[in-house]
């Protein structure tokens, strides 16, 4: 199962979904919004995506993980929109008869998701400036006045 959602991620529901009498191991990964990046303080984060492609890539990741490991179930959910500190932006839940497969698949899924799925986050720092996060690309902060002109 894959999903993109504007609502808080319900990790209990995900755990319940992947738990099975056929599985001996469940691994859940949650990516949560950190308050500090080095010494800079985050006020909140906004996530946006390219919906058609993000769904397609997430579905490809699920399929590939199921081919590579013996998984009983697999669920990937990414949150979109405004996130406050401490909230989960992404959840990966996998179950398997054996824990090695569950750990490997969980780690591969989040590592690969972060490389290929077209989702972007924008930091709003404590001082109100905003900044799109693009690894390898220095974008620099935008002040609030400039920023308010775009969605």
């Amino acid at each position: 199962m894959i999903a993109l959602t504007e609502r808080p991620i319900d990790s209990s529901a995900l755990l319940e979904q992947v738990t099975s009498p056929l599985a001996g191991a469940v691994v859940l990964f949650l990516g949560t919004t950190r308050e500090l990046t080095g010494e800079r303080k985050t006020r909140h984060l906004d996530y946006e995506c390219y919906p058609e492609m993000a769904e397609r890539k997430l579905a490809e990741l699920e399929g590939e993980a199921r081919r590579r490991w013996n998984l009983t179930d697999c669920a990937i959910v990414h949150r979109l929109g405004r996130l406050e500190i401490g909230e989960a932006s992404v959840a990966v839940a996998v179950s398997s008869p054996h824990r090695q497969a569950a750990f490997e698949a969980g780690k591969w899924l989040i590592d690969t998701l972060k490389e290929v799925v077209p989702i972007w986050k924008r930091e709003t720092w404590a001082d109100g400036t905003t900044e799109w996060v693009h690894p390898g690309l220095a974008t620099g902060p935008t002040n609030p006045a400039e920023n308010s002109s775009q969605g």
Binding site: E52, H134, P135, T139, T142, Q150
Partner: protein
């Protein structure tokens, strides 16, 4: 042919719009689209060398030709997760 390029994140912010309409020769490649985009939207010139493009929701290399009517998107380095 007319090609509509969707923009996201910093590309959308720099261009000040969600999408750009370009006129490209039939059989144009992603490489030609990249050049045309830099010429028509100078604000994007600094980031274009660092972005990927997608055609019909798949990453596309620079030598990929664009079919008429294809969905084209500019994909800056992703930061989901």
């Amino acid at each position: 042919m007319n090609v509509r390029v969707q923009l996201f994140a910093v590309a959308r912010q720099l261009a000040g719009r969600d999408a750009i309409e370009l006129v490209l020769p039939e059989g144009a490649t992603i490489s030609q689209l990249r050049q045309s985009l830099a010429a028509q939207v100078p604000q994007l010139a600094s980031v274009l060398p660092h972005v990927m493009f997608a055609v019909d929701s798949e990453y596309a290399d620079d030598d990929r030709t664009i079919s008429p009517g294809a969905a084209v998107a500019c994909i800056p380095p992703v930061s989901g997760g």
